[in-house]
Amino acid sequence: MAAIFELGEAASLMSREVAGDFPDARGRFGPYGGRYVPETLVPAHERLEAGVKRWLRDPQFVAELDDQLATWAGRPTALTYAPSLSSRWGAEIYLKREDLAHTGAHKINNAIGQALLAKRLGAKRIVAETGAGQHGVATAAACARLGLPCTVYMGAIDCERQAPNVGRMKLLGATVVPVTNGDQTLRSAIDEAMRDWVSDPTDTYYLLGSAVGPHPYPYLVRELQSVIGRESKTQMMRQTGGLPNAVFACVGGGSNSIGMFYPFVPDRAVELIGLEAGGRGAALGDNSATLTLGRPGVLQGSYSMLLQDADGQIQETHSVSAGLDYPGVGPEHSLLMSIGRVRYESATDDEALEALSECGRQEGILSAIETAHAFVGARRYAATHPGSKILVCLSGRGDKDMPTLQKTLLKGQL
C-alpha cells in the first residue's frame, strides 16, 4: 500500500477518479479509505451505507434537501470579485462565499443533508464532534430545525478558543460535552463521539463533520459538499465567461476542499491546491500538515495520510485554527495527492493571521482563521502567475475566532 504509485498505476487511478468510480464497492479511493470500526458499529455502517444508496439520489429527498438549502440555509452563496486583493496580488481573485451560508460556514451543507438522512433512517438522537465549533453549530441548527435531540462533543481546548460557538450551540438546544481526555481537540472529540455511538449503535446517528472516517462518510460528505464546486463553476462561467486557472481551499479533515475541488477534478486545465496548517513550523507536533508531512495509516476508521511517530502513535498537532488542528485527512485527498491531481501546501499560523487581516481590511470580509490559510496559497500563486484567474473557497466567517484574534492580531490593542 505505497503512497506513491508507478506512473501507469497513477494514470489509471486518475482516469477512474475522473470517471467517478471512487469510492469502490469496498469504500476505497484507490488504496485509501475502507472501514476500520469495532464490530458493534459494523451493522450501523451497513445501514448507513444502504441508506445513502437508497436516499441520496431519491428525487423526493433531493427536492427536500434543495428546498432546505435554498430557503433555510441561504444557497446559492455569492461569488464575490475581490478588486482590492486582485490589484495588490496582480491576479483576478474570486471568493466563493460560504461565510454567507446559514450559521457562517460550509458545514451547514453537510449537517442539514445528514440530518435529513438521519430522519429517514429513523434516528432518535444525533451525536456529533466539532473542532472549530462550526460543525457543532450547524448540526445543532439542523437538529433544531428537524426536531432531533443533539449532543456535541468538543475538545476542552477548542471550547475555550472557540467560546462563542459553545454558546451558540447551547442556544440552539444542543447539549455540549467538553472532552478533557486525549489531546482535548478535534481528534479526542471524534474518539468520544464514536464511544457514545458504540453505546447505542441502533438509535443514535453519528453526524460526522468532515470528509473523514469510515466508509460511507467520506463519500457522503463529499456528495453533500460538492454543491460548493458546482455552484462555483456555474458562477465563474456566468460572471467571468470561463473556468479559473487555479482553485484554493483550506484542508482540515478536507470537507470544504473536497466539496470545492471534486466538480473540478475532470477539468484537468484547472489547478487545484489545498492548504494545510503549517502551524509554528515543520517539526513533528508543531503543525497539522498531514498530507505534506504524514505517512499512511489507520485512524478513526479510515486508511489515509496521518501524522504519526515511528511506533504508529498519533501525533499531537498544532494550529492556530481549531478546524485545521487534526492529525488525519480524508482518504480521497490522499488519493488526489498521490495521483498528482491536487497539490497540497501549507501556510503557517503567522501567514494565515496576516492574510486574514489583509482580507478584512481590503475586502470588508472577516474570514475564519481556517479559511485564511487558503488566501496565503492564492497570494503565493498570484506572485508566480500574474494575471491569472483564481478562485478561493471562503469556507467561513471569523466571528468564532474572536478569543484567538484578541490574543494575536488584537493583542495590546483593546
Binding site: 469496498r26 469495532p38 464490530e39 459494523v42 451493522p43 464511544r195 511506533d311 504508529g312
Partner: protein
C-alpha cells in the same frame, strides 16, 4: 495442560486448548487483560508472571493514543504507558527476554495502526518468537482482515474474532467460522469497563454465539466479579476480565488473588 501437549499444537490452537482445559476443571477459563507497562514498565515482567500464573490465557494490551473502543480505565492505562515509553517493539523484546516464559498462552490486544507501523511483513515472526499466540484487533472488522489473517496464520499465530449483541445472525455465522483461538463475545454495546448485570437477552445471545462457534466462546466487557462469572458459567467457555484487573494492578493489590476470587477460590 502440559507443555508436551502444547508442542503438538500450532500456537493459536494452544489458546483453545487452555480454555478447554479450564472448562474441563468445571470453571470458565479466565482470560486476563493487562495494559503493557501499566502502572509501571519496570514491573511489567513481574506483573505478567503473577497474572499468567493465575489466569488461563493472558491478553496484553498494546497502548495506543486513540483507544476508541475503551472506557476510562484502559484509556488512562494506555496514556500512562505511552508517556513511559511503552511501544509494541518494547513489549515484544520484554516478552522475548523473559525467563522462564509464562505458561499461559499470550495474546496481544492492539489497535491496527501500531501493527501497521511495525510492519505486517515483520510482525507475525516477531510475535511468534516472543511467544505470542494470537492477536485481538478491535478496529479491524472481518471485511478488512484478510491480509492480516493470512500473514499471522503463516506463522501459526491466530486472529481472534469479536462478535457483538448487535451482530446479525447471518453475519454471526461468518464471523464464528473465521475465528481462531476463541470467539470474543462482547457482552454489551459500549466501551470496556462498565459494570453490567448480564440481562437475559445477553445470555440468549451468548447461547447463539456458542451454537455457531467451532472454537471456545469467551464473554468480555464489564466483567468484574464472581457473581457475573456464575451467571455466565453455563453459557460460555471463558470470561475476559480487563478494566477490573487493570484497576487491581494500579492499586498494587494481588492480581492472582483477584483472579482466584473470580473462580470462587
Amino acid at each position: 495442560m502440559t507443555s508436551s501437549v502444547a508442542n503438538h499444537l500450532t500456537s493459536h490452537e494452544s489458546i483453545g486448548a487452555a480454555i478447554h482445559a479450564a472448562k474441563a476443571r468445571g470453571e470458565p477459563a479466565i482470560v486476563a487483560f493487562m495494559t503493557a507497562g501499566f502502572p509501571s514498565p519496570a514491573h511489567f515482567q513481574e506483573d505478567l508472571r503473577q497474572v499468567a500464573a493465575a489466569a488461563d490465557v493472558v491478553e496484553i494490551g498494546v497502548p495506543f493514543t486513540d483507544p476508541m473502543a475503551d472506557g476510562m480505565t484502559i484509556q488512562r492505562a494506555s496514556h500512562v504507558a505511552l508517556t513511559q515509553g511503552v511501544s509494541l517493539s518494547w513489549i515484544l523484546s520484554q516478552l522475548t527476554s523473559m525467563t522462564p516464559r509464562p505458561k499461559a498462552p499470550l495474546l496481544l490486544m492492539s489497535y491496527l495502526n501500531p501493527l501497521l507501523a511495525f510492519g505486517l511483513d515483520r510482525l507475525p515472526k516477531a510475535a511468534r518468537e516472543a511467544g505470542v499466540s494470537g492477536f485481538i484487533v478491535p478496529d479491524l472488522p472481518f471485511e478488512e482482515s484478510t491480509e492480516m489473517r493470512a500473514a499471522l496464520t503463516a506463522e501459526g499465530v491466530g486472529l481472534v474474532q469479536m462478535v457483538s449483541p448487535v451482530t446479525p445472525t447471518e453475519r454471526l455465522r461468518t464471523l464464528c467460522a473465521a475465528g481462531q483461538g476463541f470467539i470474543y463475545a462482547v457482552t454489551m454495546t459500549g466501551t470496556t469497563g462498565k459494570n453490567v448485570a448480564v440481562p437475559d437477552e445477553v445470555i440468549e445471545y451468548l447461547d447463539r454465539v456458542s451454537a455457531s462457534a467451532t472454537v471456545p466462546v469467551c464473554a468480555g466487557f464489564g466483567i468484574r466479579d464472581r457473581q457475573q462469572v456464575l451467571r455466565l458459567k453455563e453459557h460460555v467457555s471463558g470470561v475476559v476480565v480487563g478494566s477490573a484487573l487493570v484497576e487491581v494492578l494500579e492499586r498494587r493489590d494481588d492480581p492472582a488473588a483477584f483472579i482466584r476470587s473470580l473462580r470462587g477460590q
